[in-house]
Symmetry: C2
Subunit: 80 residues, 2 copies
């Protein structure tokens, strides 16, 4: 199975990387660009074939390593 994980900054947390991208886009002449937020996208191949077990395992991975839950949210999608 494959897990696709999005790790994004929580609302209200300042995102300097996103701000830099927004400014760069404006400098390049793109108009009408509002807020820009940048997060991480992680794909993990898993041996297990049990979706519930996979989700539980990936949730533990996010809490322990992949996301800083003080300032970040994570979203998990499991694909077979």
């Amino acid at each position: 199975m494959k897990a696709k994980i999005h790790v994004t900054l929580k609302n209200g947390v300042l995102d300097p990387q996103g701000k830099a991208v927004g400014h760069a886009l404006s400098s390049l002449g793109f108009e009408g660009v509002g807020d820009v937020r940048q997060g991480k996208f992680i794909e993990i191949d898993l041996d297990t074939t049990d979706e519930a077990k996979a989700r539980e395992q990936v949730d533990a991975m996010c809490r322990q390593l992949l996301a800083n839950t003080v300032i970040e949210n994570y979203d998990i999608a499991i694909e077979s």
Copy 2:
């Protein structure tokens, strides 16, 4: 409108960041973890209400700034 962009390394391009995450997960005791790939996830708020125009604009942003098309693929989703 909101554009959601995934920027991922092309197949065959070495991903040291993903490898490091994979090793860290193994060190933490997670079993059955195969290949790990890490990419970027970017959300951009756009003023335009025309989906085709928004997609065209974001495609240009990806080619000019957000993705290195030599080694990275990008995928654009537009939401109203």
